[in-house]
């Protein structure tokens, strides 16, 4: 066999939630995140595999619904098809929904792609009473068809066999209705260059007003394009009203023909348990209590009490304080006699004391337990249901139900959540979500400490909660009024509920913890160095002193200003700083509540600010930064006056 410089590529395409990523993992043996939430896998994973002595590069693409991209993910997926020229293209479909996924198969055949159809999740389809005759389907389509249950590796050997014996391009596409066909053939006739999707599909996409494809053709045809342009224009114009609909209906008609004799649907008996659970989760009467249960057990009990309480006590109180710290500090101090270096390593704000210890003993357990809960919920398919439940409320604050994912993720890590806001559709939504994340959503690290703090004082937790919800809704509502643009439209596929798989959940949690840890540890170290430098140079005292009038205006002791300064380097530093004040008995219930509220609202941590700049641009990021700081102190001031006047917490 000829030695190739680049390996032949196998590319996986398909709708979200059809098991592409699982197939990818099974083929390559390496792991990528498998997700139940439509459109989470924005990144493309690649891996390698050997089949029958030949090695391939395998690419997993983001979910796509059609060759005509609408979302950013689909654009990425199509780019791969356009640029990578796969040797084998695996179109993975969910057997249960084969009827609505086959149109894309037809589209890929039309594009002359080296296609193999993988009909996945056969087991669940059969449970729904669907009977497949896959050889018949293969005959109808004229391309290899393999039935699989990838999560149990069923059908893998056959798929590998089909891949290694794959022959030749698919058969010519079935023609559309005569009038449409005439236009397609006429336009395709003009295309002379070698197009990755073939002349036919390229022509259709141009007719469907796909700008990217048109630009590509313009580039490829060069001087020939002026000949094409008027023809294209007149076709586009004459079909402006219903071309997309007509094509969709034609493909649907073809799909029916392809499935003729290949699929029988028997009436399934009573709805399965998952379906009943799904309805419970979506019905507001049962769904809201269910949400509260999830929040109470998942967030409050597991993350708050177990993660931020038990685990932190053990790691920080027992492991670090009693065993590791004394040894480590004396070891570090033994390294040098130089005062500033000692301070840098193991002093009050030293790399070890502040950086490593906080990151590992305080933050990691909290974030870890949160990610575990988040991964479990994500894998059950709960989030799309939550999205449809809150859509009405979110509309009032200028967001759609879709925004619930970044919002929930924000309770884990606002920085990550800010990054995820890019999946929202309009810039308006992205800005509102970013503001709310920066302002009113405390991250898990902060949340853990704050819950621990406030639970000591009856009533303060309730005040804090009400203020947070109030500010969240109020600022969301106001931003929706102020920012120009229309309210978003909400539509979302609701994937079936499934039992999360242990391995999947664990790997996902670990991957998230890993990336979080890799992201934060350097930042903790940087923050330590900055704080240390500030302390050494006296600058920190100046900044803290500068902050003091603001802090005392809120009725807080001057020492609290250090907590606010730290809060910027890491939101949870600030909360932890409060914790120190509380244990030292320096805070009254009112002061504690005011401090907790102000600190939660106060500027996001430095990592989130950087992410905001990256996602929203410097100007927007800075505006949000100043707005949030101002609002935090204003709220703290008002709350302090209110609590003192009413004597509510004293």
């Amino acid at each position: 066999m000829r030695e190739e410089v680049t390996q032949p590529k196998i590319v996986l395409v398909g709708n979200p939630n059809v098991g592409k990523s699982v197939l990818f993992n099974v083929l390559t043996g390496s792991y990528t995140t498998v997700s139940n939430y439509p459109g989470t896998s924005v990144e493309v994973s690649s891996g390698r595999c050997r089949i029958d002595g030949r090695s391939y590069e395998v690419l997993d693409t983001p979910g796509m619904y059609s060759l005509m991209p609408i979302t950013e993910e689909e654009r990425v997926a199509r780019k791969i098809l356009l640029e990578d020229r796969p040797e084998i293209l695996l179109h993975v479909v969910d057997a249960r929904n084969i009827e609505r996924m086959l149109p894309m198969t037809l589209q890929l055949i039309e594009a002359g792609q080296p296609l193999i159809l993988v009909v996945n999740i056969l087991d669940e389809a059969e449970r729904l009473g669907m009977k497949f005759d896959l050889p018949q389907l293969q005959q109808n389509l004229g391309i290899p068809v393999v039935g699989t249950v990838m999560k149990r590796r069923q059908g893998l050997a056959e798929l590998q066999h089909v891949i290694s014996n794959y022959q030749g391009p698919p058969p010519p596409a079935v023609p559309y209705a005569a009038d449409l066909e005439t236009d397609i053939v006429r336009l395709a006739g003009f295309l002379t260059a070698d197009y990755p999707l073939g002349p036919r599909a390229t022509a259709i996409l141009m007719m469907q007003r796909d700008r990217e494809v048109e630009e590509m053709v313009q580039l490829e045809e060069g001087e020939g394009f002026p000949l094409i342009a008027p023809v294209l224009h007149s076709i586009k114009f004459s079909r402006r009203a219903d071309l997309n609909l007509q094509i969709s209906l034609e493909r649907k008609r073809h799909t029916r023909k392809m499935l003729d004799g290949a699929l029988q649907q028997e009436i399934a008996d009573h709805p399965p348990f998952s379906e009943r659970l799904s309805r419970l989760a979506m019905n507001p009467i049962t769904g809201v209590p269910l949400l509260l249960l999830v929040l109470y057990f998942g967030l409050y009990q597991f993350v708050g009490n177990f993660g931020a309480g038990t685990l932190v006590d053990f790691l920080e109180g027992t492991l670090f304080e009693e065993y590791i710290n004394p040894a480590a500090i004396s070891f570090l101090n033994g390294l040098t006699d130089i005062y500033w270096l000692r301070e840098l390593l193991a002093g009050e704000y030293g790399l070890w004391t502040l950086g490593v210890r906080y990151a590992i003993a305080l933050i990691l357990p909290i974030v870890g337990t949160f990610f575990l809960v988040f991964s479990i919920l994500e894998d059950t398919g709960y989030f799309p249901r939550l999205a449809m439940l809150v859509d009405r409320v979110f509309k009032q604050i200028g967001l759609s139900g879709r925004a619930v994912i970044p919002m929930v993720l924000g309770f884990g890590c606002d920085t990550m959540a800010t990054m995820v806001t890019r999946t929202l559709e309009t810039r308006r939504e992205r800005v509102i979500a970013t503001v709310l994340l920066a302002l009113a959503i405390p991250c898990s690290a902060q949340l853990g400490v704050i819950l621990g703090l406030l639970s000591a004082v009856p009533g303060s937790l309730l005040v804090w909660l009400l203020v947070m919800i109030g500010i969240f809704l109020l600022i969301g509502f106001l931003s929706a009024q102020v920012l120009p643009g229309e309210n978003p439209v909400f539509y979302m596929e609701i994937p079936p509920m499934r039992l999360p798989q242990l391995r999947n959940v664990l790997v996902k949690t670990l991957t998230r913890m890993q990336s979080y840890f890799l992201e934060i540890l350097p930042l903790f170290l940087v923050a330590s160095v900055i704080l240390w430098a500030g302390k050494m140079s006296g600058l920190l005292d100046i900044v803290v002193d500068g902050m003091t009038p603001v802090v005392t205006a809120l009725g807080l002791p001057p020492q609290a200003s250090a907590a606010f300064i730290f809060g910027f380097f890491r939101r949870d530093f600030g909360a932890a700083g409060l914790y120190d004040l509380q244990t030292a008995g320096l805070l009254s219930p009112t002061q504690l509540t005011v401090a907790a509220v102000t600190l939660t609202l106060f500027v996001p941590c430095i990592a989130q600010l950087l992410m905001m700049k990256k996602e929203r641009g410097l100007k927007t990021a800075l505006s949000i930064f100043f707005f949030v700081s101002l609002l935090a102190f204003a709220t703290g001031w008002v709350l302090n006056k209110f609590l003192l006047t009413t004597g509510l917490l004293s």
Partner: protein
Amino acid sequence: MEKLTPLAEEILESLWIATVEEKAVGCLLSDLDLGPNDEALAELVKLAYVEKRGDRLSLRKEGRPEAEMTVRRHRLAERLMMDILNIQGEKGNDQACEFEHLLHEGVDTKICTLLNHPTTCPHGKPIPPGTCCEEARAKGGFGVVPLTELKAGQSGEIAYLAISDGQKMQKLMNMGVLPGNQLELVQRFPSYVFKVGNSQFAVDDMLAREIHIRDLR
């Protein structure tokens, strides 16, 4: 029966409105801008639909059913232009005038069903009911309605999507929300949840209002 020419239909229509709705005895030829030797008029006289006495024209009993249906077609065309095709004002009127003459041989029934058997035209005048309207009432089905009008558990066929945003429409179509597919409404509140095939989707009321469902009973 011979199909009437458009001009003849216009005359019938005006006469019917004058006679039935305005309770006039008939009208003058000059009101209708007709000359005494008008061809369309001669056609109607020959069919014994109208009676001409001097310059006065009246609708005969024999012409009433045909005239009524002509008015019906015109007002259906108006509804179609204004509600579905969103052509408003004078332009809508003009288009409707031309369009009504095409609504023969069951097309009017189809459009009436599509519009869910409307009872009034956009100007508030009654649309004379056709047999399809009577049948629909007898069956008690919901006809063609936006998704928002369905009760949870009801199902039907997707009739058409009237979504103004092309991309949203494309997305829905890619997901299998296509005319002709079966749809079952699972839930109405807080968002609309429906089932197409083995998939479920949630949409807000803005989108739900634009997905139109045909009753299959």
